[in-house]
């Protein structure tokens, strides 16, 4: 559920938890049952509620045991029939620095402070040993977050009687214990609290009123963190990252800007963003994540970009490269078959919300992060927790309960019955009109850069464009496309020259960003309407082939034109009787 993807709205999760839980439990999905004991050093109810939502979202159906308030230690160490009968398969110990029994007092030296830390640690090791011996299961243990106050300020981090120093000591001791006990997993609330900011982590109101050791808004993040550890233990990490190229691995659109025009490299701020993002991805690959490319580009363009000298990632870093114009959901399904993994083990990384929507709607449980702006790609991807590591190798304890993925499962359970429904779902609106001064710059840019979706590849200077704009012997059209996700700006340009009762199309181009959206049909609707209004009987179109525009070879045929000529160089001539025109646009609202 998108609501439970990072970055989530913590307050909404708290407020709407009942409805969200209902939605997750009633989705007919097979879930892994899991008996989870939560032993609290402070109030755990909301923690359990949030944990439950995130686990359900990971196809795990938990049943919980909660200790009586604050009795985490007693529940673990003393005989506990209730917990025995519950037979926990996994245990979460919810302690915080509120549970530190004894802080070093003012002025104690290092020896005494160390003894104090070890004594405190012993309390935890006794508890963890007891739990392990009785239940032989994974145990998730919170470490300690920075203290709410320091008393002496900055020096607290350094001196033996400093509280910050003491917490750091405790965490080192906990790490040592966890390193030598393979069933112990540290939930790093020190990092979590830093991530949220101690200002947002601590809430006196929540402590004094309800004995929550952290603010209520912190609790969803806490639940998310624990759920990431759990899902990792049960083999539910994602395994592959399928990456887009344009504006994801580099700045710009290679089909429009060319390989010299894409922005990647350390010379510019923008280029640096993409270099660091690629470095981050490379690091993930070093830790076992597979990489793939799914890009709407001609293969030659995609490869040119991937071979750009500044790139950190190269073609051979990817187990599969799909560069074509088919829907990305189909590509992902095919890629999954190629590499023998289920589609829901994928993370789909794409800057385009429309692409994310079709993958999210078509492929159940595929990771589709809302990555936002390029400078935030790393932060968001990292926080999503898709690749949470829980061991260096397979965990024997978990293998017994490993959820067997059903390779035959039909993963294209599409939210949309067909592609046209998807297009309708985009709620596209087009603004199509004759050239206007405010768009002349953009029109000139498109005219001089577009190579692929360009019927004649004629170049016009800004002056020429302005002249044609004012000259009644020309019909000019620009097309701007808006959809549910935002404004794509001016994406298409057409210019026709009137000759008697005919209109000759001398320029027709479109940005590849909006391919397969039926924008060309909307443009033709407008052109035909213009022609009707001016008494034009026939529209003539030319296709002039170049090395880059093979994709529009059949453009006029698809528009319902009849071919009337062909030359040895491959160029073709087409004609449409305006009165015979049938509109093919069913999904774009024009000029409303």
């Amino acid at each position: 559920m998108k609501e439970l993807d990072y970055p989530f709205d913590a307050k909404q999760l708290l407020r709407k938890r009942k409805a969200i839980k209902k939605s997750l439990t009633e989705n007919n999905e097979t879930k892994l049952p899991l008996r989870m004991a939560v032993l609290g050093g402070s109030t755990t109810n909301d923690v359990v509620d949030m944990l439950e939502l995130f686990l359900l979202n990971n196809s795990i159906a938990p049943v919980f045991y909660q200790s009586e308030y604050g009795r985490f230690w007693e529940d673990a160490v003393f005989e506990n029939r209730e917990l025995d009968l519950f037979q926990p398969e996994i245990i979460y110990v919810h302690t915080t620095n509120r549970n530190i029994d004894q802080w070093p007092s003012a002025g104690v030296d290092k020896e005494i402070a160390d003894k104090l830390a070890m004594h405190q640690m012993e309390k935890y090791s006794i508890m963890l040993d007891a739990l392990t011996e009785k239940y032989h299961c994974p145990i998730i243990q919170n470490n300690f977050e920075p203290p709410a106050y320091r008393l002496i300020g900055n020096r607290s981090v350094m001196v033996p009687d400093g509280r910050v120093h003491f917490v750091n000591q405790m965490n080192i001791l906990l790490n040592d214990y966890a390193s030598s006990h393979s069933n112990i997993y540290i939930n790093d609330i020190a990092y979590l609290a830093a991530d949220l900011g101690l200002y947002h982590w601590y809430d006196s109101f929540a402590w004094y009123m309800y004995k929550y050791a952290m603010s209520l808004e912190a609790i969803p993040f806490l639940g998310f963190s624990v759920s990431n550890i759990v899902k990792s233990i049960y083999g539910k990490n994602k395994k592959v990252m399928a990456l887009d190229l344009d504006n994801t691995l580099w700045g710009g659109v290679i089909g429009d800007d060319g390989v010299e025009g894409i922005v990647v490299g350390n010379e510019t701020s923008k280029g640096q963003i993409y270099i660091e993002f690629q470095q981050y991805i490379k690091e993930l690959q070093n830790r076992g994540v597979l990489l793939g490319v799914i890009s709407k580009n001609d293969e030659s363009n995609a490869m040119e970009g991937l071979n750009h000298p500044a790139m950190v990632l190269h073609p051979d870093d990817f187990v599969s490269i799909h560069a074509n114009w088919e829907p990305k959901s189909i590509n992902l399904e095919q890629m999954a078959k190629e590499i023998n993994l289920v589609p829901d083990s994928f993370v789909f990384v794409d800057d385009n919300p429309a692409e994310r929507e079709i993958v999210r709607a078509s492929i159940l449980n595929c990771g589709v992060p809302e990555i936002g702006e390029a400078e935030n790609y790393i932060r968001i991807l990292d926080h999503c927790g898709y690749f949470e590591q829980s061991s260096f190798s397979d965990d024997d304890l978990a293998r017994n309960k490993m959820y067997k993925e059903n390779a035959q499962r039909n993963s294209l359970r599409s939210k949309y019955a067909n592609y046209e429904d998807y297009l309708r779902g985009l709620e596209m609106k087009a603004e199509i009109s004759s050239f206007e001064s405010i768009y002349v710059d953009r029109i000139a840019q498109l005219t001089n850069k577009s190579n692929q979706y360009n019927l004649t590849t004629r170049r016009f200077s800004r002056n020429e464009i302005e002249q044609m704009m004012l000259d009644p012997t020309y019909i000019t059209l620009y097309g701007k496309l808006l959809d549910r996700f935002g404004d794509n700006g001016v994406v298409s340009v057409a210019i026709g020259e009137k000759k008697d009762n005919n209109l000759e199309i001398i320029l027709w181009l479109m940005s590849c960003r909006v391919l397969k959206r039926d924008m060309e049909y909307a443009m033709m609707d407008s052109l035909v309407e213009c022609c009707k209004g001016q008494g034009i009987e026939n529209i003539i179109g030319m296709y002039i082939p170049t090395a880059k525009n093979a994709m529009v070879k059949d453009f006029y045929q698809l528009q319902g034109f009849l071919q009337i000529g062909e030359q040895t160089d491959g160029s073709t001539k087409w004609e449409l009787k305006v009165s015979d025109y049938i509109s093919k646009n069913r999904v774009i609202t024009i000029n409303q």
Binding site: N45, F205, M209, Y210
Partner: protein, 82 residues
């Protein structure tokens, strides 16, 4: 803001927390009137109310509320304080 307006804004909060579109609240509504309104959901109600009105309650104000009417009074008081 009037007490009427506050109650109108509290209604969706209650409906969300209890996941029940049929709930109608008035000044006299208390925990006896809504199934599932216990000490745990009470915490959720207070938190969601703070969020709804962009306010933060003080411990002394909400430690003992008897009904929605008293909550409305505290909301007004807290809004004025802020």
């Amino acid at each position: 803001m009037t007490k009427e307006e506050i109650i109108n804004r509290l209604q969706p909060v209650f409906r969300d927390v209890f996941d029940d579109r049929r709930i109608k609240v008035n000044q006299n509504t208390n925990a006896n009137d809504i199934i599932g309104w216990d000490s745990l959901t009470h915490i959720q109600l207070l938190a969601a109310t703070e969020d709804e009105f962009s306010i933060k309650f003080a411990v002394e104000d909400v430690a003992s509320l008897k009904n929605v009417g008293e909550l409305v009074d505290i909301i007004l008081k807290t809004i004025e304080k802020n």
